[in-house]
Structure formats: structure tokens, C-alpha cells
Symmetry: C2
């Protein structure tokens, strides 16, 4: 299984902070002499924090844009064209970043766009997994209602943790596992409402589909991390470019299957409003932030980041839309906060 | 402040497990020679486990008896006479245990019933604190409804932890504190229902009273532990006897104030049924189990024990009364389980 091969390089690339700043293969070692180890460690920590913070803010504003667009009225545009636009925009942004890098540093082995079949062959897999997951999403609503689905989606947290352990072979300490279970329980608690108990009546088919979807989504995330970290010195913008090219491809298929007539008759951008454009922009930037977190942190950080974003969204919605926070939300937030704390101190003690 | 004096003896008595089994002062050291340290440690651990298990089972059956008695109809008996009976029964049981000990071992300095003013002067304090708390209980219902009060009672967990730290000067590790916050959040989550959000509308007076009640209850618990552990070699049955004598006294006052007429006209045991007697028996045994937990474990163990009992009650009620478990209950149970785990592993690492 190819994704297991990444283990060794990955350890060098990702766990460098825990090893006193060994240099990455292919990275200039000129300033690693005395305090280089520490300063490189610190700059890595800084980069990791920035991408995590960006993901948290983008994800929480994403949910707010969705609420805003729902208030503004029904979706008028076709969702498949919006998804395609997101992938296209991410591709364009990656290319723009690459152009700047090429102008500054020249084209090197690490930042050239051309690739080998060996490198690129795994890139369609995450996009394909997400496509299957999104297809399943239409069928699960036969068994679960929308709020129930929101609750079942928290299974993603557990599946990501388990697949992260199994596929990437990275260890979480016992305390970090405790934190991860709490993250799932806390996020679910924060979303509880008077109709949540209905989810317990979900038929077996619904549970199976929810679990399969959680596994697909977790696997896609973990596999993306594996792909990106397999070549630690490869420029992230090149890696993103190829990921997004396949994303565009799969979304083009979705347009053909689902909305071909509408696009031909009404045009590709029919029904796009300012808020649609803002949502596309936000999704594109969030997508890039996810890739960055995969490169410089990991799936666990991603899950924490998006979970905290969920809580932030609720708090911001109180001010923006006059939402009321429930007791369950306060309890869930407390539990998620303790979970974040445990994840942080669990690392030190491992 | 007298209760601070207990610190040193207490460390010897309670933390003996962590110190390789030093013998208690006044305890025979004949079998401490070789493996005596370990075997004494093990027998202490066993005793601690048995009293904790007894408390958990008694507390959960207590709640089941209450549900059962409610199903059987309204309370016909006066609550004050029942409370007095509980204290009297505990006194009688302590005396019976002492009689057996005197017959077996003879009367010693540690198991004699006679006491000094210095020893006995602090014994009325917990009973008085509980009396004040129970009086406040009547007034808080002006601000909070009964389900809201059940939720606010979880503040006891936090107040017990804080007072345990401040008054007994015992340390919890960071992970144990995280566990304690989770215990409070988890118990509250397990009790959530569709009307729980009303508790957020509690007026300031209600919050203040709830906090004062939590502090009184926590203080009474911690103070009882301080009294019992102040003299580690003193027989627990003697200590219980004096605690319960004052309990009887304060409950006698409550009968005089509240139910004097009813008792005179209808008789002391008017309206007692089989279930009333079972409840009195259960309360008496639970009370003794609490004292034992205070002597051989601590208030933290007591709080965990009664919290787990609350969850056990709900599970047993599913089988006995056909109750339905909510999603919130499953989440709360998960959180409490993680909390118990963190408390256990937190100890090792401190």
C-alpha cells in the first residue's frame, strides 16, 4: 500500500519540532548551526499557528456566510457550478503563488509544475473519495433528517483519529485520545436541541451510511495529508495545483450529470449574487488553508480547528443574527475547551 | 483555624498508598516487616474500593427507591421524622458495631466512646451547615424550578473540588482538575432535557443562592473529612456516633419547628410504609458509607462515586421503569467515563 511508504519522510518533516530541529532533506542548512535549530523550530511553530488560525477564522466565517445566504433567500445558483468555481479559483490562486515563487527563486526541482506519473497518480484519490461521500449524502437523508445528519457528522472526528493512527501510523498519547473522544462528545453536546433525540431512532441503514461517510471523509483527509507529506520538500502550491486540477475534473463530471441542462439554458453563472461570490472566495481560501494545515500540521489540528470554528460561529451568530445560546452549547464549549487543553498537555507528556 | 491542623496527620493517614506503606501511628507494625508495606497498601486499596463501591450502589438504589415511592403515590409520612429516623438508625448501627469491637478487642484509647470537648466541639458543624443548606433549599424554589435546581446542584462538584483544595490543602494534578470540570459538565449534560434551557434565565438571586448552597454543601463535606481524618487512628464508629448524635439533635429541632402538631396528633410513624422503611434503611447505610469514604478515601472519590451512581440509576431505571435514555445522557455518560479515566491516570503522573 503506497501511502504507508510516506511514514519515514513524514516523521522527518512533521515531527521536526520534537527532535530539536533537524533540517529537512533538500532544505538549506546554512542557519542550523547554533541557534538555527531553535529558530527553525520557532518559525515552524509560527507557520503552523498562522495556518491553523486562518483555517479556524475561514471555517467559522464560512458557516456565517451560509446562514446569511439562507436568510437572503433560497439558493438560486447551481451548487455544482459553485463547487467547480471553488476548485478553479484554488487552482488559479496556487498558480499565482507559484508564478511569484518562480520569479523570486527560479524554477527548481521542488517548485516545478511538471510532475511524474508516480507523483501525480495518487492525487485523484481524495477528490474521488469526496465525490463518493457527496453522492452518499443524497441517500442518507432517506433515513436521517438534516439536524440528525449534523449530529452524525461528528463521527468524522472519531474516524479521522482512528484512520490517522492506522494509516499515518502516528501516535496520540492516552490523554490526547481522551481529548479526542471529548472533542466528539463536546461538539455533539453543543449542537443538541429538543429534536436531537430523534437521531437515536436512526435505522441501521442510516447508521451504516453515516459510518461509511465518516470513514470516507476521514480517509480522504488522512490520504491528502499522506500525499502532501510524502514529499516534504515539494512546494505546497504545486501539490495543491494537482489536487485541485482533479477536484475541477470531478466537479465537471458532477455538472454534466446533474446540472447540464440548467447550465446550457441559463448559463454557468446564473443566479450568482455578491454573497455567492463571497462564499466561493471563502471556500477557496478555506480549502487552501486545509492543505496548508495538512502540510505544516496534521489532520488532528484540522479537526480541532474546524470544531473550534463551529463554536466561534455560534458565538458570532449571537451578535450578528440574535441567536440564543443554549445550556447544551455552554456545556459543549466547556468540554471542547478542556479537550483542546488535554490535546496540548498530552503532547508534552508523551 | 482548627481544621488546618489536620493537614499533617492527614497526609500520614490518607496518602499512605503513595509513600510505600508507612504504618499509621498507633497501628500495630508487626506485619510491616518484609512485604507488610505492600500488603498493607493493598488492603487499604481494597478497603477504599469496597466502601466506594458500597456508596455507589447505595446511592443509585436510593434514587431508584425515590422513583418507586413516587410511583406508589404521594409521601404520606413527615419528611422530618424520616430524617430523624435515619440519624437514629445510623447512631444505633455505629453503637452495634462498637459493641462487637469492644467485645473482640476490649475498650482502647481509640475505640472508647467517651470523648473530650476538644474532640467533640467540631462535630455539630457539618450538621449545622446541612441544616442551613436545607433551609435555603425552600427559598431557592422561588427563583428556580425543580429540574433547574437539579442542574444547579452540579455546582456542588466544583465547590467540593475548590474547597478540598483550599481547606484540606490537597493537590489535584492538572489532568485531575480537567477531569473534575468534565465531571460537572458531563453530569449536567446527562441531565439535559427540553426544559433545561430555562435555568439560564435564573435571576441573580437564584444564582447566588445556588452558589451559596453549593459552597455550604461542599464545605460540610470537606469539613466532615477534616474532622474524621484529624484523628486517623480513632475508630470510625466512634466518630460516626458523635456526628450522628448531632444529626439527631438538629433533626429533632426540625421536627419541633415544622411537624410538631402532626407528630403529636397522628403519631411519629404515621404514614410509614414498607418503602418508607426501605428508604430510611438505605439512607442510613448510604450515610455510613459516606463517612467510610471520607475516612478511607476522600471527598473527590465521594463526588465521583455519587456521580457514577446517578448514571447507574438512569440505566437501571430503563429496565425497571421503562425510562428512555436521551442522546444527552449517552454524551454525558461518555464525558463522565472519560473524567473517571483522567482522574485515575492523572494520579499516576503527578
Amino acid at each position: 500500500m503506497e501511502y504507508r511508504k510516506i511514514k519515514d519522510q513524514d516523521d522527518v518533516g512533521d515531527d521536526i519540532e520534537n527532535r530539536g530541529g533537524k533540517a529537512l532533506p533538500g532544505v538549506s542548512v546554512s542557519n542550523v548551526a547554533n541557534f538555527g535549530g531553535i529558530s527553525s523550530e520557532r518559525s515552524k511553530w509560527k507557520r503552523k499557528s498562522i495556518v491553523t488560525l486562518a483555517l479556524t477564522i475561514l471555517t467559522s466565517s464560512q458557516a456565517i456566510l451560509i446562514v446569511w445566504s439562507k436568510r437572503a433567500g433560497k439558493y438560486e445558483y447551481s451548487v455544482t457550478t459553485a463547487n467547480f468555481s471553488v476548485e478553479a479559483l484554488k487552482c488559479a490562486l496556487s498558480l499565482a503563488a507559484l508564478l511569484r515563487i518562480w520569479r523570486r527563486e527560479g524554477v527548481t526541482e521542488d517548485n516545478r509544475l511538471s510532475t511524474t506519473l508516480d507523483e501525480v497518480s495518487v492525487y485523484p484519490i481524495p477528490a474521488a473519495l469526496y465525490l463518493v461521500k457527496n453522492l452518499l449524502q443524497y441517500y442518507i437523508f432517506a433515513y436521517v433528517d438534516a439536524p440528525g445528519y449534523q449530529i452524525l457528522k461528528n463521527l468524522n472526528i472519531i474516524s479521522t483519529g482512528v484512520l490517522y493512527r492506522i494509516i499515518l501510523k502516528k501516535k496520540l498519547s492516552e490523554i490526547q485520545w481522551a481529548g479526542f473522544i471529548l472533542l466528539c462528545a463536546g461538539c455533539t453536546t453543543a449542537q443538541l436541541n429538543s429534536s436531537s433525540d430523534r437521531v437515536l431512532q436512526t435505522p441501521v441503514q442510516g447508521w451504516v451510511m453515516a459510518i461509511v461517510m465518516a470513514l470516507l471523509s476521514g480517509f480522504a483527509g488522512v490520504y491528502t495529508e499522506a500525499i502532501i507529506k510524502k514529499r516534504p520538500s515539494r512546494n505546497i502550491n504545486v501539490q495543491n495545483f494537482w489536487l485541485y486540477v482533479f477536484g475541477m475534473g470531478f466537479n465537471a463530471i458532477a455538472i454534466l450529470v446533474q446540472d447540464f441542462d440548467a447550465v446550457v439554458n441559463k448559463g454557468f453563472f446564473h443566479g450568482y449574487s455578491l454573497i455567492t461570490i463571497l462564499m466561493i472566495l471563502n471556500h477557496a481560501l478555506s480549502g487552501i488553508a486545509v492543505s496548508m494545515v495538512m502540510k505544516y500540521a496534521d489532520n488532528i489540528v484540522k479537526v480541532y480547528s474546524t470544531s473550534v470554528a463551529m463554536l466561534l460561529t455560534a458565538v458570532v451568530s449571537v451578535f450578528l443574527f440574535g441567536f440564543h445560546l443554549s445550556l447544551a452549547f455552554f456545556l459543549g464549549s466547556t468540554i471542547v475547551s478542556v479537550s483542546v487543553y488535554l490535546h496540548a498537555i498530552g503532547k508534552v507528556q508523551r
